[in-house]
């Protein structure tokens, strides 16, 4: 069965510091991987996605993620965090099972200290 684990419930970083949010997945076939961001009181916005090809994918707002099949990971990174990046981040794996099913991790809340 598909599953996604985000080991860090809450991360605090200083503005300007680098960031890495961890994501591990379990899926029997080629995974389709996503990172979404949810700002307080807002909906979900897609940051980036991996379908195939280059394992380092670039997204919006300066984010990138690297797919590592050997580690079943898809960690999200940003070299320099801005205060506006404070939000909830969700990793998800997509599976085609009659529909485009999407399984989410439990999220990582990011706090940015000025």
């Amino acid at each position: 069965a598909q599953s996604v684990t985000q080991p860090d419930i809450h991360i605090t970083v200083s503005e300007g510091a680098s960031l890495e949010l961890r994501c591990n997945y379990s899926y029997g076939a080629t995974p389709y991987l996503f990172w979404y961001v949810q700002s307080p009181g807002q909906g979900l916005q897609l940051l980036l996605k991996y379908f195939s090809g280059d394992t380092l994918v670039q997204g919006i707002k300066g984010f990138e993620a690297e797919f590592k099949r050997s580690q079943s990971s898809f960690n999200l990174r940003k070299p320099s965090v801005h205060w506006s990046d404070a939000a909830e981040y969700f990793c998800a794996v997509g599976a085609v099972t009659g529909a485009n099913n999407l399984f989410f991790g439990t999220g990582t809340r990011l706090t940015v200290i000025p």
Partner: protein, 116 residues
């Protein structure tokens, strides 16, 4: 133009009432979804509709009934609301799944339901 819209944004109601949440997408997608986000922010699929037919019903109580009048709309009707139904409900849409290809989902802004 908003791609996936939901109404209302906030819904406060009493236990036992019946309520509906509406969702519309103008992306020309064939598949629509409802997700529930609980108080711990966990997001889980509830329903998936493809061309007005139910594909996925993930162990959701039958008090929840999705209704799709056409492929641009997927409304969620909830009967006999309970305290545990309080959550944020997200609608999403995508192109139809074809073989092994995955089509990205686009999410609406969410509806925060509070049951008193």
């Amino acid at each position: 133009d908003t791609a996936v819209s939901q109404t209302p944004k906030y819904l406060v109601t009493q236990m036992g009432n019946d309520k509906s949440i509406k969702c519309e997408q103008n992306l020309g997608h064939d598949t629509m979804y409802w997700y529930k986000q609980d108080s711990k922010k966990f997001l889980k699929i509830m329903f998936s509709y493809n061309n007005k037919e139910l594909i996925i019903n993930e162990t959701v109580p039958n008090r929840f009934s999705p209704k799709s009048p056409d492929k641009a709309h997927l409304n969620l009707h909830i009967n006999s609301l309970e305290l545990g139904d309080s959550a944020v409900y997200f609608c999403a849409s995508s192109r139809v799944a074809t073989g092994p290809n995955y089509n990205e989902q686009f999410f609406g802004p969410g509806t925060r339901l509070t049951v008193l």
